[in-house]
Structures are given as structure tokens and as C-alpha cells.
């Protein structure tokens, strides 16, 4: 038990990375990024927990009662805002990319393609997306 939360955090980050690396749909990819981020929530809150302590709100309990770490919670709160903003931005980019490129597949959307409009362009030099098979 004493290492479980940290192991879970590491697992979540790893599986999220795996998801991003293998994703074939940008919307799915954004979800995987969220999984990577949830790893940080779990790690931070796990590090800030102490058995037998109350929440750091001294409303029903008088100040001085042992409480868990409020700093970690404040950090995670900020982190959740980060997560929401990133998700929103990435979804916007995804929607627009779909409209422009007609595909949600990361393998098909390419930042910049090789062109050959110059006078003496040899085909052998071109490294276009034609060489990549959309497996």
C-alpha cells in the first residue's frame, strides 16, 4: 500500500504516453493527454496525504487538528485549471485541423509537406508524404 499511489501515477503517465504514441484520432489523443495529466493529480495528492488526518478545512474541527497538506491541494487545483485550458485549446485546434485537412488521423495530418516547384527538382530528393504509407 505504501507505494501504490506512486505506482498508479507512474502507470497512468506511461499508459497515457502509449495512447498518444499510438492514437489514430486527435480527439482520442486529447483524452490520452488528460490521462497523463491525471497522473500528476494522483502523484501530488498521494504525496500530500497522511493517515488519520482531516481535510484542511477547520470548520467542524478546531484549528490544530492534524490535517493533510493543503499546499498540494492548492497545486492540484491550479493543475486542474491547466488541464481544462489545454483540453479546450487542443479540441479547438482539432476541430479546425479537421476542417482544413479533412482528417482526424494524426498520421495523415502533416505540418509541412515537401513541394517541388523549383526549376530543377529531382524526384529522388523529395521526401513527401507519398513515401509514408498510411498503414
Amino acid at each position: 500500500m505504501s507505494v501504490l499511489p506512486y505506482a498508479v501515477a507512474a502507470w497512468l503517465f506511461g499508459i497515457g504516453l502509449y495512447g498518444i504514441a499510438t492514437s489514430r484520432n486527435f480527439i482520442h489523443l486529447v483524452g490520452c493527454l488528460g490521462v497523463c495529466q491525471s497522473a500528476t493529480y494522483v502523484l501530488l495528492l498521494g504525496l500530500g496525504y497522511r493517515w488519520g488526518s482531516i481535510a484542511p478545512i477547520f470548520y467542524d474541527h478546531p484549528p490544530g487538528t492534524p490535517a493533510v497538506d493543503p499546499v498540494m491541494q492548492a497545486l492540484v487545483l491550479t493543475d486542474i485549471v491547466v488541464g481544462a485550458t489545454l483540453t479546450a485549446l487542443l479540441l479547438v485546434l482539432t476541430i479546425q485541423a479537421y476542417k482544413r485537412g479533412g482528417s482526424l488521423d494524426p498520421e495523415k495530418l502533416r505540418p509541412m509537406r515537401a513541394v517541388g516547384q523549383s526549376g530543377r527538382d529531382r524526384g529522388s530528393n523529395r521526401v513527401g508524404d507519398g513515401e509514408r504509407k498510411a498503414s
Partner: protein
């Protein structure tokens, strides 16, 4: 309490894995919402009610909603012809 926490951690790991493994975005949205809910419960059990409330509002409501709308936008709109 001692038994619940490890269980919740495991649930968080499983639901996170599910988000990755459900490859169809339309179904993934539900996995995301469930993952958010599991995390919110876990955070509450970790004595972090503030964080749990945020995760509930953001992770189970706002973010899945954005995913849904994004899915709708993608489904209902044919890509533009020009670039």
C-alpha cells in the same frame, strides 16, 4: 477507510487505462466522464474536497461536454474543399 483508498487508486488506474484503450472517441467520452468521477471520489477520500469539487465540475461535466461538442462539430461538418 484503509481498504477503500487502495481500491480507489486501482479504480483510477483502471479507468485511466480504459480512456486510452477505448479507441472510438464517441465511446471514449463516457470513459473520460467515468474517469473524472472516479478521480473526484478518490480526491474526496484523500481529504481534498476542494479538489474533488473542481474535478467534479471540470472532469465530469465541463471537459466531457467539450469533447461531445467537438465530436458533434466534427461529425456534422464536412471538411472544407479549399485550404
Amino acid at each position: 477507510m484503509t481498504a477503500i483508498l487502495p481500491l480507489l487508486f486501482l479504480f483510477a488506474a483502471i479507468s485511466g487505462t480504459a480512456v486510452v484503450l477505448v479507441r472510438d472517441p464517441a465511446r471514449q467520452v463516457f470513459a473520460i466522464a467515468v474517469n473524472g468521477l472516479v478521480l473526484a471520489i478518490l480526491f474526496d477520500a484523500l481529504q481534498a474536497p476542494d479538489v474533488a469539487l473542481s474535478e467534479l465540475a471540470v472532469g465530469t461535466a465541463a471537459v466531457p461536454l467539450l469533447f461531445l461538442v467537438a465530436l458533434m462539430a466534427v461529425k456534422t461538418q464536412p471538411p472544407e474543399e479549399d485550404s
